[in-house]
């Protein structure tokens, strides 16, 4: 594996880091959102980054709406979409339609609430996103700097190779 490929993998890793941080930042106001953490690994083919979901509980916020629900502890709301598929979410902003069915803002109906042992639901509260904006800003800057550094390394390797090949031609 040559240096250029290594530096390129570092650049693409930095890009993934930025994507993860930007996704977290964008969802700073999305209730029930759980941030992703970028984990870097050294592999045979260079550096790779994967995103790992952070299961930390978000802060509970009193909203004054009786149909808002927050899960304290492990668990999820199970919703059914119009197509019949079910999904799980931590976002509990529901409205009751005139037939008495609880729906979220995307029109999905609440089927059940999956709760782990010891978890419970609090009415009148929502779970805020667990994104820490300041921490994500640091991640953005780090990603930017590491991208820049990798680009410099790549350029340096490229210039060395260029110089080497021009020296080679002098010896001919």
């Amino acid at each position: 594996m040559d240096g250029i490929a290594w530096a390129a993998s570092a650049m693409s890793a930095a890009q993934t880091r930025l994507e993860i941080a930007a996704q977290n930042l964008a969802n700073g106001s999305t209730d029930g959102f759980r941030r992703s953490i970028a984990r870097g690994w050294l592999r045979a083919r260079g550096v790779s980054v994967e995103s790992v979901r952070d299961g930390e509980q978000g802060a509970l916020r009193r909203t004054g709406r009786t149909l808002d629900r927050a899960i304290v502890g492990d668990g999820a709301f199970v919703l059914r979409a119009a197509g019949g598929s079910t999904i799980e979410t931590r976002s509990g902003a529901f409205t009751r339609d005139r037939f008495g069915t609880l729906r979220d803002d995307l029109g999905r109906t609440l089927v059940s609430t999956r709760l782990a042992r010891g978890s419970y639901v609090r009415g009148g509260f929502l779970e805020s996103s667990n994104v820490d904006a300041a921490g994500e800003m640091v991640n953005v800057l780090e990603a930017e700097r590491s991208f820049e550094a990798a680009q410099k390394v790549l350029t340096a390797i490229d210039q060395t190779a260029q110089r080497a090949s021009s020296k080679m031609s002098e010896f001919k």
Binding site: E19, Q23, L25, T30, D31, A93, T95, D105, M137
Partner: protein, 241 residues
């Protein structure tokens, strides 16, 4: 990088939407019967899209506002659920929690926008008016006390689906269900308080705090856009060095 750029941009748009809603709440915090709203957002990626966030819906908070004594001669406040029904010029009914009425020349009670309260008409020559907690309107005239109608309250199966006019007026929709009229003053139901007004349910301190938080979040997302842009510039330089 474009994914990151796009994600950060949706974050900026979301905070802008947040600011709009909170600013509207704040602007109306002094309007009687005004109900504050809040916006919910959803993670686009969880719906199979790319990265970022999107506004999902606006929720009006129908929590009770503070009841305060007011100086108005025809002010009425609702304690509990329900709405006053007023005639919306076009033959439709509009619903409001704003009980700031005044008497017009034809004897009807009208709100600040000139919409007529359904259910009561004050006779000419009335000296004073009273509204009982059960909604009965009586007027003192030279000839003695005279009944002049009853204010009934409209309730909805799901008030959250009412269409908001932006101010204190709401309109019924298919999703909200039809208005069901109830007499106030029943056990466990809403009641009327005469000479009082319901203040808006917006807390100024909370709204200010939300504005600060939204501004900071907006800036953070703007930094994300800048970083994505800067990285594209760096990548672009690869081919030039």
């Amino acid at each position: 990088m474009n994914r990151a750029l796009y994600a950060a941009a949706t974050g900026m748009a979301a905070q802008q939407k947040n600011l709009e809603i909170v600013a509207d709440n704040l602007a109306n915090s002094d309007v009687a019967g005004f109900k504050g709203a809040s916006e919910t957002f959803t993670d686009i990626a969880s719906r199979g899209g790319t990265l970022g966030t999107a506004p999902a819906g606006t929720h009006v908070m129908f929590t009770q506002g503070k009841i305060e004594r007011s100086g108005g001669p025809f002010d009425v406040a609702i304690v509990g659920p329900g709405f006053f029904a007023v005639a919306d010029g076009g033959g439709r009914l509009a619903f409001t929690r704003n009980g700031e009425f005044s008497r017009s020349a034809d004897g009807s009670l009208r709100n600040a926008q000139g919409r007529r309260l359904i259910g009561a008409r004050i006779p000419a020559g009335a000296i004073s008016v009273n509204v009982a907690s059960g909604g009965e309107v009586t007027a003192q005239t030279a000839a003695g006390e005279k009944k002049c109608g009853r204010i009934r309250l409209a309730e909805f199966a799901s008030p959250e689906y009412l269409e908001s006019s932006g101010g204190t007026l709401f309109f019924e929709t298919k999703a909200s269900g039809k208005a069901r009229f109830v007499d106030p003053g029943k056990r466990g139901g809403p009641e009327l308080q005469f000479g009082m007004l319901e203040r808006s349910n917006v807390t100024i301190v909370e709204a200010m705090m939300q504005i600060l938080a939204a501004q900071r979040a907006y800036e953070a997302n703007a930094k994300g856009v800048q970083a994505a842009d800067e990285m594209m510039r760096i990548a672009d330089n690869l081919s030039r060095d």
